[in-house]
């Protein structure tokens, strides 16, 4: 049986971690490689780098970072943020990413998902969907959650899978950073609508929130960032809580 995954997300900019990370034992808490390795040692199942660089100059360091990470990290690495084309995906994979998240570019030209699936296999194509609740449904936003589209998130999720995405990373814009729990209804509705793994993102405030996302939210994996970086909880604590709730986990 495939276990449920706990994925740690690091926001990077210009090749450095941007959000405050509290690991006093690390020599350089701004170095994504050191942090990713620390989380691997703690039992994280995967690591995601979300590149929030604004400029080309900042972004150009990402491939070098991917290369340095792949040489020292021995769990899967996903890279997202700023991917504009299938050739960008190729470069990220070649540099050291195992999977690549595509967001705005997929909305603007959905054929990028198919092109990547054919060239690299759908298992490395992650459709990253930022969704915000509008009444009874959710709308897709692009450009880091700033620009609304007219796409219904559930319909768009199905479309991404039809076009070749092998995994969906679903972020609730409403919950992101709020620490009030994942949007379980959003996650469950999409997980029920597609046959590929769904990663829940946005809103983790505690280990029990993670368990909720995996059980009531029907997600295959949960993405966690702030509460780990700031020391609110640990990977081991969350995985212990998952196991206590009968969720299949990989023992670290």
């Amino acid at each position: 049986m495939v276990t449920r995954r706990l994925i740690v997300c690091l926001d990077v900019k210009g090749g450095r971690v941007v959000k405050g990370v509290q690991f006093e034992s690390l020599r350089d808490v701004g170095d994504p490689v050191e942090l990713a390795r620390r989380y691997e040692a703690d039992g994280a199942d995967e690591v995601v780098y979300l590149d929030i660089s604004a400029s080309f100059e900042e972004r150009s360091t990402l491939l070098d970072l991917a290369r340095r990470t792949a040489e020292r990290l021995f769990i899967p690495l996903t890279i997202g943020g700023g991917i504009r084309s299938a050739n960008d995906v190729a470069r990220a994979l070649r540099a050291g990413a195992d999977k690549v998240g595509v967001n705005t570019a997929a909305v603007e030209s959905p054929e990028i998902l198919t092109e990547c699936a054919v060239r690299f296999g759908s298992q490395c194509v992650v459709a990253s969907i930022d969704a915000k609740r509008h009444g009874e449904s959710w709308l897709v936003y692009t450009r880091g959650g700033r620009t609304p589209t007219s796409l219904d998130a559930v319909t768009w999720a199905r479309e991404c899978v039809r076009r070749g995405a092998g995994e969906l990373l679903v972020t609730s814009i409403d919950r992101d950073g709020a620490r009030t729990g994942y949007d379980l209804e959003l996650t469950a509705t999409i997980a029920n609508a597609v046959d590929v793994p769904v990663v829940a993102s946005g809103g983790a405030g505690s280990p029990s929130d993670v368990c909720d996302a995996l059980v009531r939210g029907r997600a295959d994996a949960a993405l966690v960032a702030g509460i780990l970086h700031e020391g609110v909880t640990t990977v081991q604590h969350i995985k212990t809580e998952m196991a206590h709730n009968g969720i299949p986990v990989r023992a670290a």
């Binding site: 290369r67 040489e71 021995f74 990413a97 298992q123 092998g166 995994e167 590929v196 295959d220 994996a221």
Partner: protein
């Protein structure tokens, strides 16, 4: 010891190269299938699609097949394992694998495909697992190998209701459907056990 990764041109091979180099091996990456077999250990990495990889392999396919049958140690990872079989449903039948193991490659018989994540390794029965026990390994695949003869299977995994070969072995040729280079410490120890076993 020289370990050569045959590079079909798609995806990340950095982690694999570093994991192998940690065993004091000289790791080379080779895109020419004929030159790739001039080595002590051949590794077929696990990224890309069967058809494209078979195309890259075609010119040196028979030479590589002969080398493996003559005892050149070889580890096939994920797609690399699938290339050790005859053909794959992922591509047309004229895309030929290395035919070291009789059987075909077919899509997982499950609702959730691809299988992405850590899956349990069960019924492990090989010297490699004595040296490097492996309870869970990382998978990212839509297709799996269906050997004609189950005797070549040295470990199994199950996705939903589909039980499939996690590890196959014929002499010094080993195929693993999972990614040892992405399976953290236990995965790296498994890689090293393989190198140790086939070169000692």
């Amino acid at each position: 010891m020289k370990v050569t990764i045959f590079d079909y041109g798609a995806g990340n091979i950095h982690s694999l190269a570093k994991a192998l180099a940690a065993f004091e091996a000289t790791v080379e990456v080779e895109t020419d299938p004929t030159r790739a077999i001039e080595t002590d250990v051949l590794v077929l990495p696990g990224v890309g699609a069967f058809g494209l990889a078979a195309e890259r392999l075609a010119a040196g396919r028979l030479a590589m097949q002969a080398a493996l049958r003559d005892g050149l140690p070889c580890l096939g990872i994920c797609l690399g394992m699938q290339l050790l079989f005859d053909v794959s449903d992922e591509s047309t039948p004229n895309a030929r694998g290395l035919e070291i193991f009789s059987g075909t490659v077919t899509r997982l018989r499950a609702q959730r495909v691809p299988q992405i994540g850590w899956n349990a390794i069960d019924a492990a029965d090989d010297e490699l697992f004595v040296r490097a026990p492996l309870s869970y390994a990382y998978y990212a695949n839509s297709y799996v190998c269906r050997p004609v003869d189950d005797a070549v299977v040295r470990a199994w995994s199950t996705h939903e209701d589909d039980r499939f070969a996690a590890v196959v072995r014929a002499g010094r040729t080993v195929g693993v459907q999972f990614h040892p280079e992405k399976s953290s410490g236990p995965g790296l120890r498994f890689l090293h056990a393989f190198l140790d076993d086939v070169t000692s």
